[in-house]
Every structure is written in C-alpha cells, then in structure tokens.
Amino acid sequence: MKRLDLVFSERELEPMLKSLEKSNVPGYTVTKHVTGRGPERVVSEDMEFTGLGANAHVIVFCEQELLGKIKENIQPLLNYYGGVAYVSEANQL
C-alpha cells in the first residue's frame, strides 16, 4: 500500500477533501493549524487570526492504483493555490 502526504492552505481543505472522496479513497486523516514554508511563501501562526488560515496536513493510506486518479483530481488545486504532495510505501500493521 501507499501513504500520501498532502500539505496545503487550510482554506482549500474542503474542496481538497471533496476531491479525495471523488477519487474513492478509503479514508483520510487531517491535521489543521500546521505551519511551514515552501520555496516562496511562509505560512505562520499569526495568519490564522487574519483569517488567511494556516496549512492543513492530510494523510491518505490507499492502494497504489488510486494514486493516478487522486493526482488527476487534486493537481489543479495544488497548482492554483500551492501545496505539496508526496508518496511513500506503507503496509497495514
């Protein structure tokens, strides 16, 4: 199986989760209030207060086959608003 890690702005959380559900993922886990920095932007905690929102970190454990469909569905969002997506190996305990 695969583990997918997504990090992107909290404000895009709802459409992103809808995309994942459309891709029929078996489940996901969301951590909000995450901060960070990418090549261009810094996301700091005080942005929560202005309503800009910090980042969300989404983890999906799923079969390899789903990855193509997921990528197709979420790539436009990542391109438009920024964010990263990484895949690694994982197996059920």
């Binding site: 702005s9 404000r11 209030h33 932007r41 810094v42 700091s44 905690e45 005080d46 942005m47 929560e48 207060f49 202005t50 309503g51 800009l52 929102g53 436009p76 391109n79 438009y80 608003y81 920024g82």
Partner: protein
C-alpha cells in the same frame, strides 16, 4: 502640531498595551498569546461592536445624517480603491495593486474602536450609527478590487484562475467577520426594538467588558504588527511610503466629505478613520482565495505592520487636530 493630543492618546491603556506587545517582539521576549485566543477577542469585539451599533441605530433611525453618511461611506469605499490602484500601479503589477487597493478601501474595526475610545477620553460626543458605516464599507472595496483584476489582468491568465462571480460576491458579503458584524448589528437593532430587558442583560458583556478586552486584543495586535515589520522591510520603500502616506491622504478626503455632510466633530473623526484605515481581516481572506497571484505578505504587512500602528498611535490624534481646525462644533 498636535503633540499634546498624540501624548494624550498614547497614555491610554489600549495604546499602552499595544506598545507592550511591540516592545515584547523588539526585545525578543517569549510573550505570546497562542491561537485561537486572539480569535476569541476578535470575535467578541465584532459581536459587541455590532450589537452596540444596532442599539444606537434603532434609537437614531435612518433619518437625519444617517442615510447620507452611510451613502457617502459606500462611495468612499468604491473611490478609495481606485485611487490606490492607480498609485500602486506605478511600481506593482495588477494583482498586487488590486489586492492592496481593496484593503485600503475597506476598514479596520479595531482602528475604529480605538478612535471611539479616544473620543470618549476627550469628551467629544459621537453617534452610534457610525458603526453602520463601518459594517457597510467592507464589501464594496472587495468587489472593486476583484473587478480591477477582472478588467486589468493580462489576458493570458490560465483558465483555472478565471474570476467566478458567485465566489466574489460570496467572499465579499459572507466573509466571517463581515457577517458577524452585520448580523450582530441586526440583532442589536431587533433587541432594542422588541426586548429592552435583553438590552440591559447584554450590557455587562457587550458594554462593561469591552474596554478591557480591547486592551488585551491590542496587546496581541502589537505582537502581530511587530512580527510583520521584517517582511515590510523586504517589501521595499515604495510600499512603506504608501502605507503611511495613503491613510493621511484618505483622511484628508474624508474630512472634506465630512464637512460637506455637516457631520459633528466626533462623527467626522470616525468617518476619517474609516477612510484612513485598511482591512487586515476580511479583505486578505477574499484576496487569498480569488487572487492567488498577489503576495499576501504585501497586503498584510502594509496594513497590519504599518498603517494600523500609524493610525492608532499618530493618525487618530492628528486627524482630530484637523477636525478641530476644519469642523465647527454644533451649537
């Protein structure tokens, strides 16, 4: 100059706590007000401002100076972003110019309540209906900003970034802080009309507690504003100049419109402050959603890092000096 007014302003608890926050960052103290506590105070302040404004609006009705003032406020929030846009275009691209312009066309509720505290402190009366003007000025500025992008942005904008009108209206009208302010205003109005005991029972929460909560919130604002300063330096001297010059310029337009409208000195100051202040809540959220090309560090650090401190510390007393010179006291 109005140094005595500035000093009187600086020596009040809200401004002193604001400085306490700034100095904490400057001295690298680890004082912090962790999320979501600032949000608690910001929600509380919006709810209380709105509710109290609604009570006053119910008392005053829409007669007298109310409708003209509100109309003028809407016009200001349409005109100011246009002026800002053309100034900003000297150095910045369409996206950043439009986003910053929208922020300066809109308002800052905390600047407004600091001005109210200042007036109370000076013993200058003002009207509660000015909160209606405050509540109504957020949305038009956002719409102008997005319209500017729609019209002036390069044609090669990718399809995914086409403006969707529904989203624009949604972001401008139903943004959390705009909605809470307007909703509480409406609730205050209804309560004052139909349930006077309810008004009394709200008083300890929305009235008595307000000043202290304002101080606590300004302590946090001081910390946040000071943390924004480094990225302001990166933004360059053009934007630094803009963040100080623009509020003064807008306040000037404001004082003349106030004179035209025949506003009382207190109301005139509040009107100027609405023109001079810039939004760091509703507008940035809307811009982040709809104009991702604009750098959020630009519009946040100008409004929050410079214009906000400038207005509450120096601007308000200076504008009061102008009012004292230009607006006759009603007799």
């Amino acid at each position: 100059m109005d140094t005595s007014l500035i000093l009187q302003n600086v020596l009040t608890p809200p401004i002193l706590f604001f400085f306490l926050g700034i100095i904490a960052v400057a001295l690298r103290s680890d004082l912090e007000i962790p999320a979501p506590l600032p949000k608690l105070f910001s929600l509380y302040l919006l709810l209380a401002i709105g509710f109290k404004g609604g009570l006053e609006l119910q008392k005053s009705g829409l007669g007298g100076p109310v409708l003209p003032t509100v109309t003028a406020s809407i016009i200001m929030s349409l005109v100011i972003p246009l002026i800002c846009f053309f100034i900003l275009r000297i150095k910045l691209d369409v996206f950043n110019s439009a986003a910053i312009a929208a922020a300066y066309g809109s308002i800052s509720a905390v600047t407004f309540i600091t001005a109210e505290s200042f007036l109370e402190n000076q013993g200058v009366p003002f009207d509660g209906f000015m909160v209606a003007a405050l509540a109504i000025m957020e949305s038009p500025a956002i719409i102008v900003g997005l319209l500017l992008v729609k019209l002036a942005a390069p044609k090669e904008r990718p399809a995914g970034r086409k403006m969707r009108w529904r989203e624009i209206l949604h972001e401008s009208m139903l943004n959390g802080s705009v909605y809470l302010l307007l909703g509480s205003l409406f609730i205050g109005l209804l309560t004052a009309a139909f349930n006077p005991t309810g008004v009394e029972k709200m008083q300890p929460f929305t009235g008595k507690l307000f000043y202290g909560a304002e101080c606590f919130f300004l302590l946090d604002m001081g910390i946040v504003a000071a943390q924004r300063l480094p990225s302001l330096r990166k933004a360059g001297s053009f934007l630094i100049g803009f963040a100080v010059f623009m509020p003064i310029f807008n306040a000037f337009i404001g004082v003349f419109v106030a004179k035209l409208l025949g506003l009382s000195p207190g109301n005139a100051l509040l009107f100027m402050v609405l023109c001079a202040s810039a939004s760091y809540l509703a507008v940035p959220t809307a811009m982040r959603m709809t104009v991702p090309e604009a750098k959020s560090s630009y519009y946040i650090s100008t409004t929050l890092g410079l214009t906000f401190p400038f207005n509450i510390v120096i601007g308000i007393p200076v504008y009061m000096g102008l009012v004292n010179r230009l607006i006759p006291v009603a007799s």
